[in-house]
Symmetry: C2
Subunit: 561 residues, 2 copies
Amino acid sequence: MAITSWESLANEKRQATLNAIPTKWRIQEPIPPPSELRDVTGTYIQKFLTPREIEITELDAYGIAEKTTTGEWTAVEVTEAFCHRAALAHQFVNCLHEVFFDLAIEGAKRLDAYFAEHKKPLGPLHGVPISLKDQFHVKGVETTMGYVGWIGTFQGLKDDPRSRVFESELVRELRALGAVLYCKTSVPATLMCGETVNNIITYTNNPRNRLLGCGGSSGGEGALIALKGSPGGFGTDIGGSVRIPAVFNGLYGIRPSSGRIPYEGAANSMDGQNTILSVIGPLASTARSLQFLFKAVLEQQPWLHDPLVLEIPWRSELEQETRTLVEQSAKDPSKLTFAIMKHDGIVMPQPPIARALDIVERTLKQLGHKVIEWSPPSHKTGMELADAAYSLDGGADAQYHFGLSGEEPAPQLIVATGLPQKTALEIAKINVAKREYQKLYMDYWNSTSEVTGTGRPVDAVICPAAPHAAVIPTQYSHVGYTSVINVLDYTSVVIPVTHADKSVDVNVSREFLGELDENSYKNYDADVYDGAPAGVQMFGRRLQEEKMLVLAEYVGSVVKK
Amino acid sequence: MAITSWESLANEKRQATLNAIPTKWRIQEPIPPPSELRDVTGTYIQKFLTPREIEITELDAYGIAEKTTTGEWTAVEVTEAFCHRAALAHQFVNCLHEVFFDLAIEGAKRLDAYFAEHKKPLGPLHGVPISLKDQFHVKGVETTMGYVGWIGTFQGLKDDPRSRVFESELVRELRALGAVLYCKTSVPATLMCGETVNNIITYTNNPRNRLLGCGGSSGGEGALIALKGSPGGFGTDIGGSVRIPAVFNGLYGIRPSSGRIPYEGAANSMDGQNTILSVIGPLASTARSLQFLFKAVLEQQPWLHDPLVLEIPWRSELEQETRTLVEQSAKDPSKLTFAIMKHDGIVMPQPPIARALDIVERTLKQLGHKVIEWSPPSHKTGMELADAAYSLDGGADAQYHFGLSGEEPAPQLIVATGLPQKTALEIAKINVAKREYQKLYMDYWNSTSEVTGTGRPVDAVICPAAPHAAVIPTQYSHVGYTSVINVLDYTSVVIPVTHADKSVDVNVSREFLGELDENSYKNYDADVYDGAPAGVQMFGRRLQEEKMLVLAEYVGSVVKK
């Protein structure tokens, strides 16, 4: 059978990424199949590493910065350890698009020289390796975003002088903060998918349970960080693309409100669609690292370099106010109130997620917090608004980029064909409906001040991030839990809680909310999901990042106990 | 000749507004024609008022609040004085759409009772009359926005339960602050016009020179405040609609960046177009009143009630920082730097405006400030982006609303007919081009730190707000000076400087920048413009309201000296 041109291009690119891994780090022994070994994190990956490499890579971003900004650890040693571990991670689950370890080590040497000369770090991220979703342009490497037609181009444009030269604003800022960039992580082509699949790297598996997907679209980030091949990285989220891979891989991840982290100069799908803006947020293994990365970016005053970023610096007073609330609540837990939404009226969470929610609710109640039931305006309406926003162009953008190479989209990627584009009046109508929905939701939130007992509305709302703990390939069917938050432009953090456990997470007979719910019920397989991370989403109002990051740290810590 | 239905509806409505003025305040004597008396502000209007009414109405909003919030003046007395003066203003220049003096006086009585009972004001605007552009819904009266087809409806919808009941969010907040609402001011139908003309009130003249127009679209606000029939009011601005009437009437007016003042629940044109959002800003006779009104609204935490408002409270630290900069500059003026843009490369300002710019430049230089020349990215590009954003729907929204009654648009209102609507991809392309333009402009602004000598970029940029001092009816041809600022989403304040003076403001032979410029040159008539206010626009970066309001106070005061 003849190999078509796009297939050979994709194969070459896939091989080039593998070839970029130094020979010494290539795995020679066969990796057991998922049926024999689901989880390749922890002890399995450790087998390939030295104790020192394990010591370095198993510290979180915040902890690493404590070592590298004080000169206790060198940038080079830390960088090499993460390059090695990322190389292993990729060989386990196909989580990388671009590997540029040589450039990273060169950069780390410059940082060490800087420290030696100035006796101080370059910035708060001095010597901290940071991974990036393959939407960010980094000098020296290309950006494919999972499209075969982007190979050897700049966002599909041939002979563009920006190719392998131009850097996204966030990349410039991370460098200025002292971060070391060393790899770019896998995404589904189009970015509009809760799994990570494309014709270049094929499929990114979930490292905690390789029978499952790692989530998407920042799926490579989720998989890599779960394998501790990165202490933290940046993804993007227009419908859940930071939160889904974070929660599927047992991590923390934040979808900030739009206008806080600079998107300027990053590649994107459907660029210019501004009914719902995609936003950038970090993923990390600890809440403190998430906060640390978020805050570090703001120190760069991105509003002076990205016209869509708001001049809202890290608000220490809001952080402190929230910390005080948390501290006071140790004595008087009624000061801090939560709401819980067990389901969205469309799809019930499967047993592992329902149990995760129960754990959070029980824990908060045991601590004495008031936890009210969340009965918001219809999430179905919210989900329909999100779907409308995602399909304004009738699939034209995706069609165009697949068409550059003639590649066939993976079945998970629902690419509309032949649908008409929306007109100005139709788009305006959607924008008005979205604003009206936001207003309704806002008024509902305000109304909870009557039931919290604090005189204030609830501080945060807890709900599923997805109905399932990670995802059986091709079975992601309901993105509404995350996409409604994008419609509202709320701040949302996912928090790891537990793991799917086939001995307790069993389907019990129940009524269905509808067809989607019935399908989700039937697709639940306690055995296949066993071991997958099960977490929750916690959201706050718009532009409440400082508050939500502190509360995520609190809720994450009490749930862990 | 038979009167068509829309004409009789319009006549009835016009008459109803006049009838709502108490008989005692109706002018019996003939008002001299503009050819005999251009300026009806000042001594002319004072003839109809008592000394006490003059004392009250000639104080600015800030000054009035000092009296009414301390109980020195009652809300009723202040309200009655402004109702009287507004009634006169309307009879001079047709600046009102809705008159609800009875409701206002009732409200003022309640405020006085509140003060008597609690010995304190209801809020910072206790007893201060505030006028509103006829886009805001106020209980008890209707909103026509200049459309005959809206008479007796809610935004053109018949039998809508919100009619005469629903209130816009800003209205709710103004009431909570203690303001007294008493009238709504005239606008051009469609709002997309630099003059104020509609089939209901016909034309709003400029009270400083009735041969000219008052500007638009917040034209009634400009005319009313210039006549001191209001101490301050709120307009909206998508292309200059606050700044144009402010500068044409010798007032201060601010176009804030989007997301500060709540638009929620106000009527609008092309609602849902979100490439360039219309914003709300106050107009007033003094800079301190502008700041006072702006700050007061933020005290209501509008971000809890309008999903598009950003959680950015009044930043006292930014205000203070700017005040310190101003104070320090008395000793070391090099601390504060300005840029000046004498023209935008498209249309040169006519002589009165060129002179106003010269006055500002000379004053700032004499004080020792560095004033650099502003050489930004092409304003032609910016203006084209604005025009593209305004015409996404191909005129469909305006056509629809004119069609409700079948009325004929005034010739100034350029209403597209039969133009195709833009599609999703075309709109996305405009949005991307707009963002790229904003980025270019931002980078240019950053680059000025190399020439200011302060290490910082320029603090503010001064340029024309329009090429002309007010406008000869039907001759508004170039809105680019204001609309480019909307594309950039910058903060901009207009500052009164001088008046057109036929003895010095004469055309001198020069080369033209193009056809628009040549037309503007030819249309200049030193005699007709004589006496019209001539001011400038001063803009700062995005979301710099606190800074720009303080700088406007400073520049306005030094120019006055």
